[in-house]
Structure formats: structure tokens, C-alpha cells
Symmetry: C2
Subunit: 357 residues, 2 copies
DNA sequence: TTGTATGCGTTATCAA
DNA sequence: TTGATAACGCATACAA
């Protein structure tokens, strides 16, 4: 038994194809009685409209595209996993499918846009980052292609402060600030910051949050002394951590989990007593190191970390994009504007890795 | 200026649509002169056949599907990242696109197959695992849907030993065996194995490789004493590692990087002298712990690990699947059968995390 | 070698 | 409210 089509169903039911199409796409244009009859028949026959035929007619593929970047660091790669999963799920729930593609460079990515738009008729794209002067966003805007960015439109703001395209990002500064207040509440005051020395906007943002919170907590005198930059590696975390501890820091906020793993290591090396089992809780004992990204490694090591709500971000991206694709319909259903989501500190107790009693 | 179509190009060129179609799909049926003229015009006009129209006619979407599993452990999640990237790239190179989807359960996955086949007309699927008694593979086979599995068809072999569907996997046993021979060459003999106690086929496979290599190296007497199972966590690796070291193991082969991180930790705890800088190389000093999967964390920590060629696996999966989709054409172009790829040990020197001189 | 006619399954337009 | 007809862009069978 072949698959039912609009035509086969129509003849079987004794109605026109149009009526069936209406029952699906404009139910209010069909008399309730026939509507029910048609819907029941559709259900019974297991009829599903063909996406290809529909796309040919409507010029919409219900298909979103996203470039899969080459695995970089990878420690932070699990973030992408979670994002991708949530994105696929949200898109699916909104009736869209997600198509992946690869590109070697940004220029190549633009070439792929053109291909995918032209050939496969993709309806829009999700970008996972934006650069200072981005050829991709410019191309997309010039061609009127809907898209949304996971990441702030760094340096692409309008005169009025708004961006020229929808975006969703996570407020790194709020995360590091929360880490500071947590540590302050635990009795710490000499709280260091271990950041990247790449000078990128993301790292700047996280450092700024720490600085701001230090000032707000009346700890400004430590700022210049307890701020260190290293490469974003575990080894960098170790050496940076050592320096901070030698400068009497009792707690360290880090720009990444890689750095935090290293910093924790340096603490265990220079302050081993903090890790002896049975030690009473107190300043310097717990959550003395806070990472960023809440990677699985951090969880496994019992490392406190700033957890990014990437699932929320993905959901929001899909809402923005689908809203845009629907042509900005009713004002009532309008989603929030581009948004900064707030991450939160997940507190953990470090694994007791020291010799057992 | 609207996009050129077959028809618009044909009238513009003064040839029939058929000729253009032939120029693209059957160039040998077109006279060289007109072929060049047509191809040049296609190039100049930037014409690209519409996938939707083509799919409607040919009933092939040139689209492969893959379920995105929820992020599990995540330490091993970077493997999936790499696999996904290579898969997308290979598919792209073969003219296919990759569509992602989510499913809550295996039954739900089957429901998605049906939807995606029926609605979007996907040509085939990539599965990233197979279970002992898999509803998904059964459904796909019953419905004649092309698919290929990354993972062995555990317990689904035919009488003649071949599987009923194409698969590609990585030979875990070969990996742990290579780890053993490496350690033996370095002078170790009391080589332990730290595995999972989940009783799954993957873990069994990796343990079997260690056992086999131990026997082959004349070290069978250690097998029963130096074989330990724990949960697949860093904490499990620590406690398991301690036991093995107390039983005089000088080296440890692990079923995962999580376990290896823990085992390395227990070594540093109970055999700290091995990690002092300036120590001469020798048994017990280097590569005394070997992990599995070669995750970024392992790389960052300087942990030796068995690296899986997931990129090769992805490429091979695409070859098998596209070959199947092409209807098993010429014997000459036939790819190798389902295949076990061999992983290899990446040797590293542990980070000097101990106090500096 | 090239051209013609037809159909793939749907939605949009318009008439009934 | 429903039905007939015409596209959407392409490929295939067949005729020239």
C-alpha cells in the first residue's frame, strides 16, 4: 500500500484536494463537519504532507542551517554539544529541521550560505559567534536572509545601541561577579582572577565582572595585584595559580575550567592542608577555586564553576529566528528582544584526592 | 534579477530544458560544443538545480539523518563532536546534507524515522550505537531503509558471521593491547587494567585486549590479580588506582580517560617520587597510565591515551551509506566491507604538577 | 543528439 | 464553504 497523497485522499473521501489542504492549513475555512471527516481520514491513513512539494510551492523549506566549527579546544566542546541538542530539539518543536554544514573559513561559510539558500532553500541560519568585522553577518544582512547569533554582536551596534540582528548571549560578567560574591560570603577577601591574555571580548567581559564585584564589595585594593593572565591551558592555570597564591590569594575566580583545574592543582600543591579530610569548613577550604563553563570535567573533579544556561540560549535563538521567519506577526506573540542570559555558580566540594586516613 | 531556472536558462540559450538537464546529469549525451556552451551559461548565470524540485521528481532528498543523543558523560562527548564534524564534511563532499534530530527513546527514534522518511524524504540514517536487541535496526531493515552504524552489530550477526547491515567500529581490544605492548617495551610487567563494571560489550572488548596482550607477553600470572572494575568516574579511577598500586602494579591501562585521570592522581599520591622533576626516565616514570579516547582533557594533562580514529570512521560510514544509496553500482567502486578500525596510543609526558625546584 | 509531453505533491487563485 | 485549474522546477520516457 503506497503512501497516501493529497490527491489519493481526496478521491477516496470524495472531496477536492483543496479542502484537505485547507483542513490542514486553514481549518477555519472548512465546515466543522467536513473538517472532522477530513482530519479523521488523515489520521487513519497516516497521511503527511510532502516537504518537498510543499517547499516547491511555498518556497519555505522549514529547514534551518548551522555551521559546525572544527573541534577546537574541546574541553569546552561539551558546551556545543548541549547547545546543539537543545537547538535541534527546539527547532523540531517549532516544526523546523536543522541542517549542519562545514566550512573552512568565513568566506567559505558565505559560499555555503549561498549554496544552501539556493539549492536546499534553507529558511535561516544560526551563527555561533560573531567577530568584530564579520563578513558573514554583512552578507546575510545584504541578502535579507534571516539569522540569529549565539553571541553578542561585538562592535556591531547601531547608533541607538541596538544590534542590527537578533542575538542571544550569556552574561559572562554577571557570572564572574556572582562567583566573587559567593566567595565573599564564605569569608574570602583576597580573591584573585585568572584570565586569558588573548585580549578577546569574552575574556575582557569575564574579567570586568570580577573587577566590578570586587569594587562593589569594597575590595578594590586587591584588583591590580590579584589579576593574572595566562594562556588558556591547565599548565597556564597551574603557574598562574601559583603566582596568585604566592601573593596571598585565598580564592581564585577563573575564566575557564581548564584554568581552574590548574589553579586547583596549584592550591593542592601549595596549600595541601586545605584538602586534608576532616578539616573544618572555613575560608580557603571550600570552593576556593571557581571555574567557568561547568564542563563535565569540572563536575567530575568536584570543581565549582559558572554554569551557562546554553539550553535556554538555544531555545531563545529558535524563538527569535522562527518569529523572524513568520514575518514578525502579532505583537502579542513577540518574543523578548535579543537577550543576555545570566549564568550561575554551581558550588561543589573538591574530590578528596589526598591520601586517605 | 530572479534566480535562473532550467526553463529560463533554456529559453535564454535557445535550447531545450532537457539539454541542460542532460548537460548536468548525463554529459556524455550532449555534443561537446553545446555542452560547453550550456555549462558556461550555467556558470555565468549561477544556476543551481533546486533540491526540492529534484527531490519531487527523483524521490531522493540527498539528505541523511542522525539522531543527536542527549549529552551524557560529556568527557567523552568531544568524540561525538569530532565524529559529527567529519560526518558532515564527508557527507557534504559526497553531495549529501546532514539533518539532525532528537528523540527521547528508541521507540521515539523509530517514530522520527517514519516522520523524516515520509515528510522530508531522508535517504538514509546514521546510527551511533547499536544495542543487543535493537528495535531501531529491526524497523529500518523491515522498511528497507538504508542505514549504517558507528558501532559493532553486537549479537546481531548472521549465521555466516556477517552482519545484516553495514557498520564501522573501532577495535577497542587492539587499542588496549597496543597500550600493553608499549608499556612492556618500556620495561613494565605488572600492568593493571582499570575497567567499567557495567558489563557492556565495549568495556568487555577493551578488557579482553589487555588480557590477550598480557598473555601474549607472558604476563598471564598478573591477569586475575591486576584486573579491577569501578564506575566510570574520576573518583572510581582514584580508588581503583590505589588498589592496583597497593598490589604493586607499576602501570595501568584504563578503559576511559576519566578513569585514567583518577588513576594518575592515585599514582601521584602514592608514588610521588615518580613525578619529581629531573627524575631519570625509566619504568614507572613515564606513560605509567594510559587512558582511552584521547579526550582534550587527557591532552591537557599530558596523559597518554588510546586515540580513536573517529574521523576515519565517519568517512567510512558515509562511503558505506552512499554506496548503498547508489544501489550498489559498479564492483570496482565498492568500498571495503564493514570494518574495524585500529586505534593507536598517543604517548605523552605528564604535566609536572609537583612543587617547582 | 535534441526536443516534447507528462508527472512528482502541494498551495494559490479564482470561480462556482 | 467548496471545487477546478494552474503553477512551483525538475527529470524521465519517448518521439523527432
Amino acid at each position: 500500500m503506497a503512501r497516501p497523497t493529497l490527491a489519493s485522499l481526496a478521491t477516496e473521501l470524495g472531496v477536492s484536494r483543496q479542502t484537505i489542504s485547507n483542513a490542514l492549513n486553514a481549518p477555519d475555512r472548512v465546515r466543522p463537519a467536513t473538517l472532522k471527516r477530513v482530519l479523521d481520514a488523515i489520521e487513519a491513513a497516516g497521511y503527511r504532507p510532502s516537504a518537498a512539494a510543499r517547499q516547491l510551492r511555498t518556497r519555505r523549506s522549514m529547514n534551518l542551517g548551522m555551521r559546525l566549527l572544527p573541534a577546537t579546544d574541546g574541553i569546552n566542546g561539551s558546551i556545543l554539544d548541549r547547545f546543539l541538542h537543545a537547538l535541534t530539539e527546539s527547532a523540531q518543536a517549532a516544526g523546523y529541521r536543522l541542517t549542519l554544514f562545514c566550512a573552512d573559513t568565513d568566506d567559505d561559510e558565505v559560499r555555503q550560505y549561498e549554496q544552501l539558500l539556493h539549492v536546499a532553500g534553507l529558511d535561516g541560519f544560526v551563527l555561533t559567534s560573531s567577530r568584530r568585522d564579520d563578513v558573514r553577518t554583512r552578507w546575510l544582512q545584504e541578502h535579507g536572509t534571516p539569522f540569529a547569533i549565539f553571541g553578542r554582536p561585538w562592535g556591531e551596534l547601531q547608533r541607538d545601541g541596538s544590534a542590527r540582528h537578533p542575538w542571544v548571549d550569556i552574561d559572562g560578567a554577571a557570572g564572574t561577579a556572582e562567583a566573587v560574591t559567593h566567595l565573599v560570603r564564605q569569608g574570602h577577601s583576597r580573591i584573585g582572577f585568572l584570565g586569558w591574555h588573548d585580549g578577546g571580548p569574552v575574556g575582557d567581559d569575564r574579567r570586568a565582572g570580577w573587577e566590578h564585584a570586587m569594587r562593589a564589595s569594597g575590595l578594590s585594593e586587591h584588583i591590580s595585584r590579584l589579576r593574572i593572565s595566562t594562556p588558556d591551558t591547565i599548565a597556564g592555570g597551574v603557574s598562574g595559580g601559583r603566582k596568585l597564591i604566592e601573593r596571598d590569594a585565598t580564592a581564585i575566580v577563573c575564566a575557564s575550567d581548564s584554568l581552574a583545574i590548574g589553579a586547583l592543582e596549584s592550591l593542592r600543591e601549595l596549600r595541601p592542608r586545605l584538602f586534608l579530610p576532616g578539616q573544618p569548613a572555613g575560608p580557603g577550604l571550600r570552593a576556593a577555586v571557581v571555574g567557568f563553563d561547568d564542563t563535565p570535567v569540572a563536575a567530575a573533579l568536584g570543581l565549582s564553576s559558572v554554569a551557562q544556561p546554553v539550553e535556554d540560549a538555544a531555545r531563545h535563538i529558535v524563538r527569535l529566528l522562527t518569529y523572524e521567519l513568520a514575518g514578525y506577526p502579532a505583537a502579542g506573540t513577540m518574543p523578548d528582544e535579543s537577550l543576555l542570559l545570566t549564568p550561575h555558580v554551581v558550588e561543589r566540594v573538591p574530590l578528596p584526592l589526598a591520601p586517605p586516613a
